[in-house]
Amino acid sequence: MSKSLENVALGLRSKFNENVYNVIGLDMKGAPSLICKQLIVQNYCPKISVISTTSSDALASSLGFGNFLELLRCFEQGLLDQDPGITASNGSNLRLTVRFVSPIMDQLREQEEFLQTRRSSLGGSASLGGSDSFSQTFSVSELYNLNALDPFINDHIKDVDSIITASDDPVHIKLARNSIYLKLLTKSISSTTISSFEFFNHPIVQLFVVTSADSLETVKEALSGWKRTAYPSWLDIESILELVLIVVDPEKELQDGLRLQEELKLGVGVKSLIVPLNNSGDNVDVGKPVFSQLGEDMARTESSERGLPRQVYETFSDQIQDIIHKQLIPHMERKVRLWTEEYVAPRKSFTGRFFNAGKKWGGNGAKKSFFSFGSSEKLETTPEPSGSSYNKKDGYYNIKSPEMAIRRLADWNFMLRDYRSSYTTYELLKKDFLNDKAYNYLASLQEFMIISLLMGASNKVNPLDKPPISMVMNGITAKIISEVINPLVDSSFYSYLSRCNLKTYSVRLLLIIAELFFILGQSTAYFGHSQASASALYYNEAINLFTKLIDSHLLESTTNAVLMERVAYIYSTFGQPEKSPKTTVKESYYEQDNPRKLQVPKLLSFGQTRHRKSILWLLLAAKELDPVSKPAQTRLLVECIEDEIAQVPGHDVAAWMHREDGLLYSLKKSLGI
C-alpha cells in the first residue's frame, strides 16, 4: 500500500511552509523550526464544539461522513494552509484557525470513562453511572494516551518508508522524513482533553447544526438541552457563544430556513446563519485534519481519501471564515475587554493591591490575628479560609472565582496571539496558585508564562519579516534564561510529573519549550554575526531540554530516536547560515609550496559549527531506531552521517570513524552496506 506524499507530509501545500523552505532550506535531518512554531501556534486555537440534529447528520452522511462534526473537521486543514503565520506585516489582521470538537458532555464522559477504566484496571472500585451529572471530583486526565504515541510514530514511519522506497526525488524523501518529527510534535501537543486548569480546550463557540427540516421545537430542545446537564463547577458555560447554522437547499427550502432564523431570533434570542447548500459540481479532495487526537487518528487511517462537491466545499469554507471573523473573534475580543476591566484592572490598581493584601492577612492568617484570639480551635474546623476560592478538598477553583476569570482571559489572549498581554496576565496569578498550593494550576500557569514569553520574543526575530538588522532585539538574555525561565521550567516539570503525575503534560512542556528555544536560536542566527553568541545560548538551552526529555524515560524508543535526531539537527544547524569568506585567496609568496606545511583550518567557521556533535547524535538515533526493524530509516541516517564525515578534512579522521570497533561500522554491517 503506497501513500501519496500529501497524506504523509504535513501542510505541504501551505504557503507558509513554502516561504520557510525558501528561507531556511530543506534538510534531510529535520524540519525548520519555523514550521514547528507554526504548528505550536496553530495548536492553541479556539475550539468550536458542534451539536448536530439527526436531520443534519443525515445530510452529512449523504455526503459520505459519519456526522456533521466530521464534515466540518475537513475544513480545518484549509484554514491551516491559509494561515500566513505571525509576521510584522500582518500582526493586526488576524487569521485565526479553529478546530471543531464534539460537545462538551461527550468529551467529559469519554474522559471519565477512560479514567474509570484505568482506575478499575488498577484495582480500584469502578462505578460508571449513566447519569447526566459529572462528579465534581473529576480528576485530571492526561492529554492523550501516552502509550499510543510510540505505535503511532511507528505506523507513520512505515508510511514514510513506502514513500522513500517509491520515490527517487530527494525533495520528496526529505519532506517525508521531516514529517516524522512534525507528526510527533503535533501529536504530543494537540489534545481535546478538557481540564480544569487550562482553557484552551474549552469550546468558545457552541455551534448547532440544523436543517430547515427541523422544527423550532427540535432546535429549542437542542439549545436548552446542552445547558441542562450538570457540569462540573470548574467548567464555564456562560461565556460560550451559541450559534445556529441552518443548512438549506437554496431552491426549495430557503423560505423555511429564513422563517426558522426569524423565529430563533425572536423566540430564543440566538443568532443563526443560513448556509445554502448546492449539491453540484466536481469533487474536491479534502485532507485529514492535522490536529486530530491520537486514538481517533488510528481508527480511521483507511478512510483518508475523501471528496466533497466543489460547491459545498466553497460554501462551507466561506461560512466558516464568516463565523471566525464576524462572530468568534469579535466575541473573544469583547469578552477580553470586559474581563480586563473587571478583573485585571482592579488587581493592578493601587487600591486593589491594598485590599487584596488585607484580605490575605485577614483570611489565611486569621489565627494569628488579634480579634480571633481565643477562638482558634473553631477556626481550624471551618471548611475554607476566606480569601481563596480554591476548593482544597477536590482540588479545583470555581469558575466564578476571579483567579479563573483571569486565567481564562490570559488563555484567550494567547489564542488571539497576543503573547505580551497573556504573559502579563498569567503573571498576576502566580502568587495565588502558589499560596493555595494548587499545583496543577501552577504548573500549567508557569508553562504558559514561559511559552508566551518565548513566543513573543521569537516573533520579534522572524526571518520571514526581513527587518533591518539593527532592529533585531528579542530581549531574552542569559540572565533571564537562568533566573526566570529555567526555574520556571524546572518547577513546572516537577509539579506535573511528581506532584500531579501527568506525564503527557510534562512531555508537552519540555517539547514546546525546547522547540521554542530552537526557534529563537535559528531565527537569531539568521540575523548575522553580532548575534552568534546569543543564538548559541538558545541552541544550548534547546539541546539541554531535549536531552532532559530523552533522559526522563517518559517516551519509548522510536520516539526517543526521533528526538535524538532532532538534537542532531539542532547541532548541525549550529552556526548557520554559514559565513561566507570575504577575502580572496592571496597568491602564494613562495614559488613552490612546501608539501609538508601544515594546513590552516577554515578560520571563519572555526569553532562555530557542531557537525561532529551532530554525527554523534545521529549515530545514537540510528542505534535507537534499530537497523533490523527500520532498515530504510537507519540507512538514510547512516548516509547522513557519511555525508557529514566526508566534509571533515583529512583522510585519517574518516578512517578513525569507520574503524571496526565503532558503532558506525556495526550499523553498516547490519544494514549490509
Partner: protein, 142 residues
C-alpha cells in the same frame, strides 16, 4: 572506572590511543567500558573537538576540565603549543589535578618523541617506548 586517552594531531586525526583502567580505588588497570560506550568512544572524543575549537581562542588556558560530558563521562583536554590535542574521556570523578599532571608529563614525552628525526608531525605514534612510558605515567597518576 576507566580512561580513554587519545592524542589528536593538528588535522584532528588520531595519533595515539589508549584505553586504561584506574589503578586507584583498588583497580587493576584493566579498562571496563560498557559496550555501548566503548563503541562510541571515538565519536565522543571527536565531538568534543567542536567545543574545544569554540573555546581554544576564547579562554587563556590549555587544560580544560569538564570540556564536555556525555552520560556520566567527562571529557578533559590539553592543548599543546603546536595545536596537538590530548583528550581523556572518563567516568572517574574528582581526578582533575592528577589528570592535569598526567597531561603535562605526556606532553614532555610527546615533545621528546617529536624530536626524533624519524618522526613527522601528525604521523601516528608507533614507538613501543612511548607506549610503555605512557602506561607507566597512567599507573602513576590515573
Amino acid at each position: 572506572m576507566s580512561y580513554y586517552f587519545a592524542i589528536l594531531g593538528t588535522n584532528d586525526s588520531p595519533l595515539y590511543e589508549l584505553e586504561i583502567g584506574t589503578y586507584k580505588q583498588s583497580g587493576d588497570g584493566k579498562p571496563n567500558f560498557p559496550i555501548e560506550i566503548k563503541e562510541l568512544q571515538q565519536f565522543i572524543v571527536n565531538a568534543s573537538l567542536d567545543i574545544l575549537q569554540d573555546q581554544q581562542f576564547k579562554i587563556n588556558q590549555i587544560f580544560f576540565k569538564n570540556l564536555d560530558a556525555f552520560y556520566g563521562y567527562q571529557v578533559y583536554s590539553y592543548l599543546t603549543q603546536g595545536n596537538i590535542k590530548f583528550i581523556i574521556s572518563t567516568n572517574v570523578k574528582n581526578q582533575d589535578e592528577s589528570i592535569r599532571q598526567f597531561f603535562i608529563e605526556v606532553n614532555e614525552l610527546y615533545v621528546k618523541n617529536l624530536l626524533s628525526p624519524f618522526y613527522n608531525v601528525n604521523d601516528p605514534i608507533r614507538s613501543v617506548g612511548f607506549d610503555s612510558r605512557v602506561c607507566l605515567l597512567a599507573k602513576k597518576y590515573l
